[in-house]
C-alpha cells in the first residue's frame, strides 16, 4: 500500500513545492504581524501631531499586499483540499488513506 | 558386415568393458570419450546404435541426444543411455528427449547385450 507521506524521503518536485507553499502559508500571518507592528518602531514622540496620513497609506498597502498574497496562495492551496467528507461515520472500518494526504503531516 | 555401435563414455574402464562384451557378441564397437567430437562423428558417419553416457566432460548426454533427434539423418537412431546418477528426473528427461533405452550403472552385462540386440532388431 501507499506509504504515508511522512516517511517518504524523496518527494516529487510538485509535492515539494506544495509543502513549501504550506510553510509559506503558515509564515504569512507572522510576516503580516511584523509589518503591522512596524509603525510602532518609527513613533516620533517629539512630533506634536502623528503622521497619520502616511501611516494610513502604509498600513493599507501592507493590508492589500497580504490580501493579494493570500489570494495567490489560496489558488494553490485549495488544490490540496479534497471534497468535504461525509460527516456520518462509515460503517466499514476505514481502509483508505486520507485523500489530501500531502497535507496531513504538517496539519498537526 | 558387423553392425556398428558407438560408445560415448569418458570412463575408460567402463567403455573398455562395453567394447569387450559387445565385440564378443559380434558388434563393431567404436569408443570415444569426447562428447563434442562425438556429435560431429555421429552425423558424418552414423553408427547403427549409440551408447551414451549421461555425464560427459564439456557436454551432457542430453545435449548429444537433442542434437541427434534434431537431425533427420540420425532421428531414428536407437540410443541406449547409461547413467551413474540414476535419478528419476534424469530418466524422465531422457525419455522426453526420445531416448530408446535408459539404464543405470552398474549394469549386468547380459542386460546391455540384450538391450542392444533388441534395439538393433526393431
Amino acid at each position: 500500500m501507499k506509504l504515508p507521506s511522512r516517511t517518504t524521503q524523496f518527494l516529487a518536485r510538485d509535492t515539494y513545492r506544495m509543502r513549501r507553499l504550506m510553510d509559506a502559508a503558515r509564515m504569512l500571518p507572522v510576516v503580516g504581524l511584523v509589518l503591522l507592528l512596524l509603525p510602532l518602531m518609527r513613533l516620533d514622540s517629539s512630533a506634536e501631531n502623528p503622521p497619520t496620513a502616511a501611516e494610513a497609506v502604509y498600513l493599507f498597502l501592507v493590508w492589500i499586499s497580504l490580501i493579494v498574497i493570500a489570494f495567490v496562495m489560496s489558488l494553490w492551496l485549495r488544490r490540496t483540499l479534497g471534497p468535504p467528507r461525509p460527516p456520518v461515520a462509515p460503517l466499514a472500518p476505514p481502509h483508505e488513506p486520507d485523500p489530501d494526504a500531502p497535507a496531513t503531516p504538517e496539519g498537526r | 558386415m558387423d553392425k556398428r555401435v558407438l560408445v560415448v563414455e569418458d570412463e575408460p574402464n567402463i567403455s573398455e568393458a562395453i567394447r569387450f562384451i559387445l565385440t564378443r557378441n559380434g558388434w563393431h564397437v567404436d569408443v570415444t570419450a569426447d562428447g563434442v567430437a562425438a556429435i560431429g562423428d555421429l552425423q558424418a558417419n552414423p553408427p547403427d546404435l549409440l551408447i551414451l553416457d549421461l555425464m560427459l566432460p564439456g557436454v551432457s548426454g542430453f545435449d548429444i541426444l537433442k542434437a541427434l533427434r534434431a537431425d533427420p539423418a540420425t532421428q531414428a537412431m536407437p540410443v541406449l543411455m547409461l547413467t551413474a546418477k540414476g535419478q528419476t528426473a534424469d530418466r524422465e528427461e531422457a525419455q522426453r528427449l526420445g531416448v530408446t533405452r535408459f539404464m543405470t550403472k552398474p549394469f549386468a552385462n547380459s542386460d546391455v547385450v540384450a538391450a542392444v540386440r533388441e534395439m538393433a532388431g526393431s
Binding site: N49, S74, A89, P97 | T104
Partner: protein, 911 residues
C-alpha cells in the same frame, strides 16, 4: 425624513430580507441553488463581524483615536490570511463532529463535558448580551438622529421603545429562520443568505458615503490625506501597547466570538470556501475600513462642535443635504446591527438550549423517571425561548446601561470576555494533553477576572461595583483594585484585564491539564481532534451493543423529526444489508446516530441521551477503555498499518530467506547424494562389468584375465579411497578430528611429501625447485595432516601440470607467527572462473580421471588447514597453478570447531 416613512422603509427592507431568506430556504430544501452555498455567500456571511459598531462606531473610534480603529480589522485579517494554521483545522473539526457552537466544541473535546459547555455558554451570554444591547442602541440612536420630525412623532424620541420594537422584530425574524428546522449541522440557509445580502448592503452604504466624502466633499485622495494630517490630534498617536494588544484581541475574537464561530465553523460546508474566504474576507474588511478615516476627518471638519462622531456616517450626508445617501447609510447601519443580532442570538440560543436547558430538562425528567417526551418539539421550543431570552437580556442591558455614547468600549469588553475561551480552544486543537479540569479551571479563572476587572467596572462606578471598591480595592486591599490588580497600575484598563485574565487563564489551564488525569473519553476526543488530518474517517466512540433499535428509533424521531429519523435508521439498516427500519446496534451505528443528534442538540446532550436510552446514564469504564483503545487504533491507523506491513514484509522476507536457505540446503544435499552416487557407481560399474566378464571366463587369454583383474583391483582401490576421503572430510568438517600435535621440521615434511607424491605418474620427470634454508623451520602442528596437504598439492601438480618440462617451485616465507608455503608449477594454471570452485567438494576441472580422484582432495586440504589454524588459497598470476598454504608456526591448541567454509557440493575441480 418623516418617522413614518423611515419605519416603512425599515419594514420594507425587512420584508425584502424575509423574502430572500424564504426563497433561499426553499431552494435549499429542494436541493437547488448551489450558489447559496458558494464561497462568496460564505465570505459575505462572515461579515457579521462588522456590526453596527463597525458601521457607526469605527468612524467615531477613528475620530477619537486615529488609526487605532484599524486594529479591530487587522487582527482578523491575520487570522484569515493565516487560515492554514488554525482555521482550517478548526473548520474541519467542527464540520466532522457536527459541532453546533463554540461551547459544543469545547465540551465535545473535553470528554463531552457539560460543565464546560455551561461555563462557555454563560461566558458567551455574558459577553454577548452587551454586544446585542450595543446593536439595539445603535439602531435606536440612528432612528432618533435620522427622524427630522421628532416633534410630531413622540415615539421617535423614545429610544427605549424603538429598541424594544427592534428587539421584538429581530426575535421574530430569528425564530422564523433560525429555528425552522432542527437539522443536522445546525446550518441555516435562509439566515446565511439574508446575512450575505445585508453584508452587501452595509458595504455598499459605507463605500457610497466614503466616495461621496472623498470625491464630492474633498477633491480626491491627496486632498483627503492632507485633511487627515491637518485634523490629526495628539491623541491619534499610536500607542504601542494598545496597538499590539488590540490586534491580538481582535484576532482572538474572530475565532472565539459565538457568532463568528457560527458563520465560520458551523455554517461551513467545504474547506474550499475557507480558502476563498482567506483573502476575500480580509478584502471585505479592507474595503469597510478604507473610508473610515476620511469620513471621520471630514465629519470633524464640517460637523458642528459636539456632534457625536459615532453617527458621522449618518449625520454627515444629512448635514450636506444628501438624504438619499443618508437613507442608504441608515439601511447599512440597520443591516449591520440586525445581521449581528440575528446570528448572535441564534448562536447563543443554541448554546443555551443545548448546554443548559435541555440537559436540565433531561435530568429533571430522569429524576422523576419520566419519558423524555417529544424532544424535537422541546428542543425547538427551548431554542425559540432562548432567542427571546437572549434578546430580552440584550434589551435589559441596554436599558440598564442607559445608552452609553462610546459604542466601541462595549465591543472591546465583549472581545476580552470571549477571548477567555481561547486557551481551551487552542488546547482542544493542538494539545492532546489538555484536560477537562484544566479547561474548566482556566475558563473559570479567566471569566472571573474578566468579570471583576473589566465587565463589572465597565458600567461605571456605583452601577454594579461600588465606587469605593473601584478606588480602594476589594476588602480595602489596594492590590485587588479592579483596574490595577496585583499592583499593575500603568496599563490601560482594557489591556490590564486582557493581560491578567488571559495569562492567568492560560496558566491555570496548563497547570490544571498537567496535573489532572483525563478520562478515557477525553483522551479519545483529544486524540481525534488534535490529529484530525491524520485519520481517514470521523470519530467513533460507541463499541458495545447496549440498546435495542426499537428503543433508539423513537428517541431519534423526537430529535430529528419522524421522517428524518426513520430515513436515517433505514439508511443505516440498508448499509448493513438489512431491510426495514431497525439496524443492528453496532458501534458505528450508535456513533452515527450520536453524531446526527449532536447536530441538533449538541455533543454532550446527544451522548447523554443515548446513554440514557441505553439504560445507563454513564458508560462504564470498560466501555470507555474499549472506546479508547479502538479509537487510539484508528488514530494510529496509518502509522500502525505502515509499521505492521513493514513488520509483515520483514517477516516474509525472513521466511523467504529461510525457505531459500532450506531449499538450497536441500538442493545441495540432493546434488551431493547424486554426486556421491555417481562417484560410487562409476568404479562399481567397471568392477561389476569385468567381474561378470571374468566369471564367464572361457575364451579369455591369461593376459586379458590379468588385465581385467588389475582393472577390478584399481577400481576397488579407487572406491576405497573415495570412501576414506568422504569419511575424512566428514570428520574434518565437523571438527571431530583429533589432531596429533607435535614439533616437526618443515623441511623434513616437504621432503617426505615429495617422496610420497613421486608414485603419481611416476614416469613423468618432475623437477622440484627448493631453497632449503628457509624451509628449515621448527614448527608445532599435526605433521601427518600437513604432509597430507602437501602430498595432495604435489600430486595434483604431477597429474595436471601440462608443461612439457614440468617443474615445481616451493617457496617458504615466515610472517610473524605465520608460515607461508607457496607451491607454484609452470603449467597453464587454473582458469580464472574455476578458481573459486576448486576447493569445493567434487569439483573437477577436467574429467580425465585416470588418476581416479573424486574431486575431494582440495576440499579436504582446506578443511585440514582450517583445523590447523591456517588456510590454503589459490594464488593467481604466478605463471602456473600456485597454491599458498599458510599456517601458524606454533599451533597452541586445536582451534575451536573449525567452521566449514565450503558448501557440500559444487562442480569442477582438481584433486
Amino acid at each position: 425624513m418623516s418617522f413614518n416613512l423611515l419605519v416603512l422603509t425599515c419594514i420594507a427592507y425587512v420584508i425584502f430580507l424575509f423574502i430572500v431568506a424564504s426563497a433561499a430556504e426553499r431552494s435549499a430544501q429542494q436541493g437547488r441553488a448551489k450558489w447559496l452555498r458558494s464561497p462568496l455567500v460564505y465570505t459575505l456571511s462572515l461579515s457579521v463581524y462588522c456590526t453596527a459598531w463597525t458601521f457607526y462606531g469605527a468612524v467615531g473610534y477613528a475620530a477619537r483615536s486615529g488609526l487605532e480603529f484599524m486594529t479591530i480589522y487587522l487582527g482578523p485579517t491575520l487570522v484569515f490570511v493565516g487560515w492554514w494554521v488554525l482555521l482550517r483545522k478548526l473548520v474541519r473539526i467542527g464540520r466532522e463532529n457536527r459541532v453546533t457552537s463554540i461551547a459544543d466544541l469545547i465540551s465535545a473535546r473535553y470528554g463531552k463535558s457539560n460543565l464546560l459547555g455551561v461555563i462557555v455558554t454563560l461566558l458567551c451570554v455574558a459577553a454577548g448580551t452587551p454586544y446585542i444591547a450595543l446593536q439595539l442602541q445603535s439602531i435606536a440612536l440612528s432612528f432618533t438622529v435620522f427622524v427630522s420630525d421628532q416633534g410630531r412623532a413622540p415615539l421617535a424620541a423614545d429610544r427605549n421603545l424603538i429598541a424594544f420594537w427592534v428587539a421584538a422584530g429581530l426575535t421574530f425574524f430569528t425564530i422564523a429562520f433560525g429555528t425552522r428546522n432542527l437539522d443536522a449541522n445546525e446550518q441555516h440557509h435562509g439566515v446565511v443568505t439574508a446575512i450575505a445580502v445585508e453584508a452587501v448592503v452595509k458595504l455598499l452604504a459605507l463605500i457610497a458615503v466614503g466616495i461621496f466624502v472623498v470625491w464630492f466633499v474633498a477633491t480626491g485622495p491627496s486632498d483627503i490625506l492632507a485633511r487627515i494630517d491637518a485634523q490629526a490630534l495628539p491623541e491619534w498617536t499610536i500607542q504601542p501597547g494598545r496597538w499590539t494588544g488590540l490586534i491580538l484581541l481582535s484576532a482572538i475574537a474572530i475565532i472565539c466570538l459565538p457568532r463568528m464561530f457560527q458563520v465560520t465553523v458551523v455554517e461551513n460546508i467545504d474547506d474550499k470556501h475557507l480558502a476563498t474566504a482567506s483573502w476575500a474576507f480580509p478584502l471585505y474588511l479592507f474595503l469597510i475600513s478604507l473610508f473610515v478615516l476620511p469620513i471621520a476627518v471630514v465629519g470633524m471638519e464640517l460637523m458642528p462642535e459636539g456632534a457625536n462622531p459615532d453617527m458621522f456616517v449618518l449625520t454627515l450626508p444629512l448635514h450636506l443635504g444628501q438624504d438619499g445617501l443618508a437613507l442608504l447609510s441608515f439601511l447599512g447601519g440597520f443591516s449591520a446591527a440586525t445581521s449581528m443580532v440575528i446570528v448572535a442570538s441564534l448562536a447563543l440560543a443554541t448554546m443555551v438550549s443545548n448546554h443548559i436547558v435541555v440537559p436540565l430538562w433531561l435530568k429533571l425528567r430522569a429524576a422523576r423517571n419520566l419519558d423524555t417526551g417529544n424532544m424535537r418539539l422541546l428542543v425547538l421550543s427551548v431554542r425559540r425561548l432562548s432567542i427571546g431570552l437572549v434578546l430580552a437580556l440584550g434589551y435589559i442591558y441596554y436599558i440598564i446601561s442607559g445608552g452609553s455614547e462610546a459604542l466601541a468600549a462595549i465591543g472591546l469588553v465583549a472581545f476580552v470576555g470571549v477571548a477567555q475561551a481561547l486557551p481551551a480552544l487552542l488546547g482542544a486543537l493542538f494539545w492532546r494533553g489538555a484536560s477537562r479540569n484544566g479547561a474548566a479551571l482556566g475558563l473559570s479563572i479567566g471569566t472571573f477576572l474578566w468579570f471583576y476587572a473589566l465587565f463589572l467596572p465597565s458600567f461605571g462606578p456605583d452601577v454594579l461595583l461600588p465606587a469605593q471598591l473601584m478606588e480602594h480595592g476589594l476588602f480595602g486591599q489596594s492590590w485587588l483594585r479592579p483596574y490595577s490588580l496585583f499592583g499593575l497600575t500603568t496599563l490601560d484598563p482594557l489591556l490590564h484585564a486582557l493581560f491578567w485574565s488571559l495569562s492567568l487563564n492560560t496558566l491555570a489551564f496548563c497547570i490544571g491539564s498537567l496535573l489532572s488525569f483525563p478520562s478515557p473519553i477525553e483522551r479519545v476526543q483529544g486524540a481525534l481532534f488534535v490529529n484530525i488530518f491524520d485519520r481517514p474517517g470521523p470519530a467513533r466512540s460507541w463499541t458495545t451493543p447496549v440498546a435495542q433499535a426499537e428503543d433508539l428509533l423513537p428517541m431519534a424521531q423526537r430529535i430529528l423529526g419522524a421522517s428524518a429519523g426513520q430515513a436515517f435508521f433505514r439508511a443505516q439498516a440498508q448499509a448493513q444489508g438489512k431491510n426495514g427500519f431497525l439496524p443492528d446496534i453496532t458501534p458505528d451505528f450508535l456513533q452515527g446516530l450520536e453524531l446526527k443528534m449532536s447536530g441538533s442538540v449538541g455533543a454532550a446532550t446527544a451522548h447523554a441521551m443515548i446513554s440514557q436510552t441505553v439504560g445507563t446514564t454513564v458508560v462504564s469504564v470498560e466501555d470507555l477503555m474499549a472506546v479508547a483503545s479502538e479509537t487510539a487504533q484508528i488514530i494510529e491507523y496509518s502509522s500502525q498499518l505502515e509499521a505492521k506491513s513493514e513488520e509483515l514484509s520483514r517477516t516474509a522476507r525472513k521466511l523467504r530467506d529461510a525457505n531459500e536457505k532450506l531449499r538450497t540446503l536441500s538442493d545441495q544435499k540432493d546434488a551431493f547424494l547424486s554426486q556421491i552416487s555417481h562417484e560410487l557407481r562409476t568404479p562399481m560399474t567397471s568392477i561389476r562389468a569385468f567381474s561378470e566378464i571374468m566369471m564367464d571366463a572361457d575364451g579369455l587369454s591369461p593376459e586379458e584375465q590379468t588385465h581385467f583383474a588389475r582393472i577390478i583391483h584399481d577400481e576397488s582401490i579407487r572406491l576405497t579411497r573415495l570412501l576414506d576421503d568422504l569419511l575424512d572430510l566428514s570428520v574434518l568438517e565437523h571438527g571431530q578430528v583429533s589432531l596429533d600435535i607435535r614439533p616437526a621440521n618443515l623441511r623434513d615434511l616437504i621432503d617426505k611429501s615429495i617422496t610420497a607424491s613421486k608414485s603419481v605418474q611416476a614416469q613423468r620427470d618432475f623437477r622440484i625447485l627448493r631453497s632449503r634454508d628457509p624451509e628449515d623451520v621448527q614448527i608445532v602442528t599435526d605433521p601427518g595432516r600437513l604432509t597430507q596437504v602437501f602430498i595432495n598439492i604435489l600430486s595434483n601438480a604431477r597429474k595436471y601440470c601440462d608443461a612439457s618440462d614440468p617443474q615445481m617451485k616451493i617457496i617458504v616465507r615466515q610472517k610473524d607467527t605465520m608460515l607461508e608455503i607457496d607451491f607454484i608449477d609452470n603449467g597453464s594454471g587454473i582458469p580464472r572462473d574455476k578458481q573459486a570452485l576448486i576447493f569445493e567438494k567434487f569439483s573437477r576441472l577436467t574429467d580425465s580421471l585416470q588418476a581416479g580422484g573424486a574431486g575431494l582432495g582440495l576440499a579436504i586440504c582446506r578443511e585440514i588447514m582450517n583445523n590447523l589454524g591456517g588456510d590454503i588459497d589459490y594464488v593467481p598470476g604466478q605463471g602456473g597453478a600456485a597454491f599458498r598454504v599458510s599456517l601458524p608456526v606454533l599451533l597452541e591448541r586445536p582451534p575451536a570447531t573449525a567452521v566449514t567454509s565450503s558448501s557440500p557440493i559444487d562442480a569442477a575441480g582438481a584433486d
